[in-house]
């Protein structure tokens, strides 16, 4: 199981990194989404793995609980990365609408051409 | 007065049931909370449901449900057999146009749902004026029979329920 999780994180990270290195905004967004999945699982795994031991206290039985803290952290992280992704999507859209293409690299024209106020 | 408190009695009932289902435990407290929510939630959401239809014969719903349930079981076996044992070349799929007598959107939806859930038929779309359903039949050599089946077995009952 541990190997499964570790390799899954690795695979998602690899896929995410590859996509993040693309030249268009959309694949980059996909890549970041993949990376955030990966990191969520990674962070979650830092509480170690347990099956059928949810951290919900049971009044009746003395059952094992998995580490709740990383779960809370991941929750926070999920929400934050959602907000970030939403903003990113919107900015990417804005950049596309303004520039007419969704290349993510700034070109020379963009570096020098625009008169800014 | 009662109407004011329970503007949507059927809805309230359904939602209370849903609440109990969610809580999965029937206690007085849950029941009370369920009823309260069952009253409040429809008030909040009713803006999205204008022109709510009236069920003329609520009890027919049960009968209809049982018929459909039975048909679903049969359908599953039939479809399973077709999938498993028929060669692809022998499967004869057909389009069927089912003209509708129903006009209530809710009834049409119920019918379309039923068609999809039952033997080898999927309702793919309505006519743009909502007076026909286009049904795709997985395997049949008698399209008209299928259409008549639908009309008698389901549409008639729904008509009774809604109109």
């Amino acid at each position: 199981m541990e190997l499964v999780i570790a390799s899954a994180v690795g695979i998602m990270t690899a896929g995410g990194v590859y996509l993040v290195l693309r030249l268009r905004a959309f694949p980059v967004i996909l890549g970041l989404a993949l990376l955030s999945y990966a990191v969520n699982v990674f962070l979650f795994a830092s509480g170690r793995l347990a099956v059928n031991a949810p951290p919900i206290l049971s009044k009746y039985a003395d059952v094992p609980y998995t580490d709740p803290l990383p779960q809370a952290l991941v929750l926070t992280a999920i929400v934050i990365s959602f907000g970030m992704t939403a903003v990113l999507v919107m900015i990417a859209l804005g950049a596309f609408l303004e520039a007419g293409h969704d290349r993510i690299d700034m070109d020379e024209e963009a570096e020098n051409g625009d008169a800014k106020a | 007065m009662l109407n004011r408190l329970f503007p949507h009695p059927l809805m309230t009932f359904t939602l209370t049931a849903v609440w109990l289902g969610l809580v999965n435990k029937v206690t007085p407290g849950n029941l009370l909370l369920g009823v309260i929510l069952g009253i409040i939630v429809p008030i909040v959401t009713s803006v999205y449901w204008p022109n709510r239809p009236r069920l003329r014969r609520p009890l027919m719903v049960a009968e209809y449900g049982l018929v459909v349930l039975w048909d679903i079981i049969v359908a599953n076996i039939q479809v399973a057999a077709i999938i498993l044992f028929k060669r692809n070349a022998d499967i004869h799929s057909r389009w069927i146009n089912v003209p509708l007598d129903l006009t209530s959107p809710e009834a049409i939806t119920a019918l379309a749902g039923t068609i999809t859930m039952t033997p080898g038929t999927v309702s793919t779309m309505l006519a743009s004026d909502g007076r026909s359903i286009l049904v795709h039949c997985l395997h049949t050599d008698d399209p008209d029979g299928v259409r008549d089946d639908i009309k008698t077995r389901y549409e008639a009952r729904l008509k009774e329920i809604f109109q």
Binding site: - | G21, N24, A80, W95, A112, M125, A127, R131, S132, L138
Partner: protein, 123 residues
Amino acid sequence: MDLIVEILIAFFLVVSGVFGLVGSFGMIKLRDTLQRLHAPTKATTLGVGGVLIASMLYFLVIKGSFSFHELLITLFLFLTAPITANFIAKTFMQAHTRDEDLPPTGREYGWSLYDDPPNQTDY
């Protein structure tokens, strides 16, 4: 009693498993998309139904607690499955089926995918 229930539960589980598998098998076996549409929307629905019944029975008899929230899932699925099928069919047909391939409605308005609804043309 317990044995009978156990057998019953096991029966439902097996049945649901079989139907679930058949549904998914249909997905790869059938040759065109509209046919494939039939396999999962039917078989899988019963498959899940079987599991849900098994679950209810199991909690009722083995665990001794009456559990009926499974019904809610059933309700959900029954409400949604036709809509999903409907949409997927249209998605496919928009690209692959033309108006002429379908039986005519017999009235002035055609099928909704291709024909504007009455009195609404401005889009």
